[in-house]
């Protein structure tokens, strides 16, 4: 049976309007608006979907979600379980806030290894909090396995010992045959994750996450080792002021807009 590890990160909800986005400049932290729960990083749900589609296509597999973080919202992190993932491994540790991408990759590599390894590691193309797109690449480097980024379609080869992958590339796509084991990052072009049904939600409620700390992984101190330190975090202000074009009605406003743009030599 194929073992698929999916790396999924808890991040602040990205659907809040920019005007509600606040930071604590002294604490170098983002302050989510009150009452807005976090989400599973969107691309990571695309990665879960990619794993489920392999199963739909007849690939027998165990799908295990790995997440490094703290202050987990369990009902949020259980979403992948509710749509069909089998297990949830949480590395739940205060230290995780101080991890840079390399530190996070080391922790994930160790957690996956301790769980018996994986034939395929799927991750999102990037995490929507710090927008780095580094962790999975580093993970492939640490695990010494091939990497394919920006996957939009994933199937198993006929003989079942490699993957057939379509990745988004400049001006089109690339078809790649990828040996196993491998690390892949999934992009939204693959398609949205399916909705959970009631049965799935009930099943997920009963499942308990398997939690560990970084110390449990036996890799020593991985906190960022002074490689990179944030010194400032702030919300930039836009200095643009808009000139609203108004007319007798909306159509008239459209007509006047064209004239105004021509006058300003913009069209």
């Amino acid at each position: 049976m194929l073992k698929i590890a999916v790396c999924a990160k808890q991040v602040p909800d990205t659907d809040i309007p920019p005007s509600q986005f606040k930071v604590d400049e002294d604490g170098l932290q983002v302050v989510p608006p009150a009452g807005v729960p976090p989400i599973v990083n969107g691309f990571d749900m695309n990665a879960v979907e990619a794993a489920l589609r392999l199963r739909d296509a007849g690939v027998e597999c165990e799908i295990v979600i790995f997440s490094v973080g703290n202050a987990f919202a369990l009902d949020v992190m259980k979403k992948p379980l509710a749509i069909g993932a089998d297990r949830l491994v949480l590395v739940d540790d205060e230290e995780s806030d101080s991890l840079d991408a390399l530190g996070t990759a080391r922790v994930l590599a160790a957690a996956i290894e301790q769980d018996g390894g994986a034939d395929l590691v799927l991750a999102g193309r990037q995490a929507s909090d710090w927008d780095q797109a580094h962790v999975p690449i580093m993970l492939s480097e640490l695990m010494s396995v091939p990497l394919v980024t920006l996957v939009r379609n994933l199937t198993m080869s006929e003989d079942g010992d490699s993957f057939e992958v379509e990745r988004v590339a400049e001006g089109g796509c690339q078809r790649i045959e990828c040996p196993m084991p491998a690390v892949m990052t999934v992009t939204n072009e693959l398609g949205e994750a399916r909705y959970a049904n009631l049965r799935g939600i009930m099943a997920a409620t009963r499942k308990r996450p398997e939690t560990r700390t970084i110390a449990d992984l036996g890799i020593g101190d991985v906190a960022n080792d002074g490689r990179l330190a944030m010194t400032r975090l702030f919300v930039p202000v836009s200095e643009s002021t808009v000139e609203f074009i108004e007319g007798e009605d909306e159509a008239d406003a459209g007509r006047l807009l064209a004239l105004r743009l021509r006058e300003a030599k913009l069209i």
Partner: protein, 327 residues
């Protein structure tokens, strides 16, 4: 050169990728004597290095260098750059945050245990600490973060394409050739079966002087026909928000934004796009944003120079008709 910045440039069609000169300018903010290295094969034209703006260029010569991407995932390029870093021992490595640059920067950082700051839009030396300080957009562009590299280890910086102007400087650099033909990728590698070009319709987004984009507010695929008509009149490229692409109304190759294309037209016209920070990340260098949206409070209006508040179905046809009458 055991200190200083090593710029890793990309080669395209035997010449320099447009980001190379941007990197030279960016590197100049922290080191006036940066070197540039390029992985090249025989077909590389050294003439392309004229006026590149650095004094010293290192050509990493490998017969397959130009073919990287052969496995689709830049494995060889990563190995060549790791080899260069091992031999040259720079204090910082600087790349462009392109598809290739993302992979190479993360691989180099993992290999050397280096600090890595991605997608930077500003670089400086902190006068009080003497350390390199970089600024990068985070949380989809909702915030900016400044990072420093506190340790003495290798620093890897990737720079957002388009964030810096291209350097233009007189002179011909000294060129040093390093034979790296012995470097290969070890272990299992993916195999590129085929590259399929999916040429988008119309004028390429990155080159257009005017871009017209549609968003979720259009409500379906049909209104994009209206935008196509407008594009035809304005000689404009057609763009879209991710919401419109994800809905299947238009191909993803038209997506503008953080995970789509970065554009810098003179005039950017949006219709039914709210202006989420991830969208704005791809058009922040547009010089004039013009927005049509029915919500006066939409974020797009805090970036726009001109706006019309209204239903696109009423505003757009009149706008298009008036444009058609302009001469």
């Amino acid at each position: 050169m055991s200190s200083g910045v090593l710029i890793v440039g990309e080669v395209i069609d035997g010449g320099l990728h447009p980001t190379v000169r941007q990197l030279v300018n960016a590197a100049g903010q922290i080191d006036r004597d940066a070197s540039l290295c390029l992985a090249v094969d025989d077909a590389f034209d050294v003439g392309a290095l004229e006026n590149v703006g650095v004094g010293n260029v290192i050509l990493l010569e490998h017969p397959d260098a130009a073919d990287d991407g052969v496995d689709g995932v830049y494995s060889l390029l990563s190995e060549l750059v790791c080899e260069a870093v091992a031999q040259l021992e720079p204090s910082s490595v600087m790349l462009a945050k392109t598809d290739a640059g993302s992979v190479v920067s993360a691989r180099v950082a993992a290999r050397f245990g280096a600090g890595l700051a991605a997608d930077c839009i500003d670089l400086a030396v902190n006068p009080s600490t003497g350390r390199v300080a970089v600024t990068r957009p985070v949380h989809g562009g909702n915030a900016l973060a400044v990072y420093e590299f506190p340790g003495d280890g290798l620093q890897v910086v990737s720079v957002r394409p388009g964030a810096f102007e291209a350097e233009v400087a007189d002179g011909i650099p000294e060129v040093e050739r390093v034979d790296v033909s012995g470097v290969s990728v070890s272990g299992a590698v993916p195999v590129l079966v085929e590259t399929v070009s999916e040429a988008g319709e119309g004028i390429p987004l990155e080159q257009a002087d005017v871009v017209v984009s549609g968003g979720r507010g259009l409500g379906g695929p049909e209104p994009f026909e209206n935008l196509r008509e407008l594009c035809g009149l304005l000689n404009a490229a057609l763009g879209a928000s991710r919401a419109a692409c994800d809905a299947g109304w238009i191909d993803h190759s038209h997506q503008v934004g953080l995970t789509g294309k970065s554009i810098s037209p003179t005039t950017y016209i949006t219709v039914g796009i709210s202006g989420a920070s991830q969208h704005m990340a791809g058009c922040s260098s547009a010089r004039n944003i013009v927005a049509i949206d029915k919500d006066r409070e939409a974020n797009i209006f805090s970036h726009a120079r001109y706006g019309v508040v209204g239903d696109w179905a009423k505003v757009l046809p009149a706008f298009t008709a008036a444009v058609a009458e302009l001469d």
